[in-house]
Symmetry: C2
Subunit: 213 residues, 2 copies
């Protein structure tokens, strides 16, 4: 499937659908319609239908809908949850440590196989079974383990230089928690988990409501 045909907006909605479908499945339902998903999530049912068509070849039974288990399998398969990718994490500060213990990564198909920091006191320690190494060993580790993905949780000022090193070593996907606009060559993808951006949207909405009270 051509990646260009799938919008980021659709990709972002897929994990949301998945959570909704799992909730429905655990409450005993067997079939679900795109209308029911749309109502549950406050989305447009035409959009839900289109999104599902991208990831699933199941067309659903008239008046009954899609088989829940099939739809869940198709979305998980599409998102790669069923086939784990290995990754490294760089920056074992407070956020990095929390992320090493984050159960979501494995659930979402990402297995952190090594963590890196500049703080000598951390070398040799493990968090959640993951060993912490010196960043001096990063390039070799990425190459030896044939890693393509990395989680970046370093400080703002170090983010670009670590990013450059990762790209040189062969990383093509970076999940970035540092509040920095990373510059990467074509063919390398950066996805920001940008708390500032989320907060900006929320604060502005709240502020507007309060000002009009």
């Amino acid at each position: 499937m051509d990646i260009k045909l799938i919008s980021n907006a659709t990709l972002k909605r897929l994990p949301v659908y998945l959570r909704c479908l799992h909730e429905m499945a655990s409450s005993g339902e067997e079939y679900v319609s795109s209308v029911a998903i749309a109502e549950n999530l406050n989305l447009n049912s035409v959009q839900v239908k289109k999104d599902i068509a991208v990831v699933s070849s199941s067309s659903g039974k008239p008046k009954v809908g899609f088989k829940l288990s099939t739809l869940i399998h198709d979305i998980e398969n599409f998102l790669g949850y069923t086939k784990t990718q290995k990754a490294c994490l760089i920056g074992v500060g407070k956020l990095g440590s929390a992320l090493l213990s984050y159960k979501g990564f494995e659930k979402y198909g990402l297995q952190i196989v090594g963590a890196f920091d500049v703080n000598e006191q951390l070398f040799g320690n493990t968090i959640n079974g993951i060993s912490i190494y010196s960043t001096a060993e990063l390039t070799e580790f990425v190459k030896e383990n044939q890693l393509y993905m990395a989680v970046l949780a370093v400080r703002e000022k170090d983010a670009q230089s670590v990013c450059d090193e990762l790209v040189k070593a062969g990383i093509i996907g970076i999940l970035n928690f540092a509040p920095v606009n990373l510059q990467v060559p074509q063919g390398v993808f950066v996805q920001d988990v940008d708390i500032a951006a989320s907060l900006a949207i929320l604060s502005t909405k709240v502020k507007t409501v309060l000002e009009n009270k």
Copy 2:
């Protein structure tokens, strides 16, 4: 200003512009054009121009551009960074603890004034100067301190019930880190910091590249 006139997409770009402008300012520049911002961030300059027009009344000098300090002030003012809002945080697990130490919140105009958990052993402790209380005291705390915003970092299974409690107490803006589609009444805003969604986008892109290698 009517909130409906500002798209989420614009709101999300504003913190990104801000980082770019601060970088330019610290490298000694005094003026900046929308074209320069667009080039730096790989965006369309028409879009950058439109976004700036929403938040700043400065029209910029021909051939010179906008005064950097004015533009930074206008965006920070628009995003509420210059006027701090108070908030509470619920769920002092690994992620919650990391968030309590997160310097970004204050920088982005959010001041966490109290943290809440169900774990008795945490009551009375402080992290980064913020006291941890029992969730039994949550409603009273929100009302007494006239809070409108909350950061939700509780477990998946507790998220909806805590959310309901927050809404009842008067919270209208929730920054949600739990992987749950929260249901809220109209007039209440939820902004998800969804690691799963970000990872879904990234993994799919990387997977497609690897499959076509």
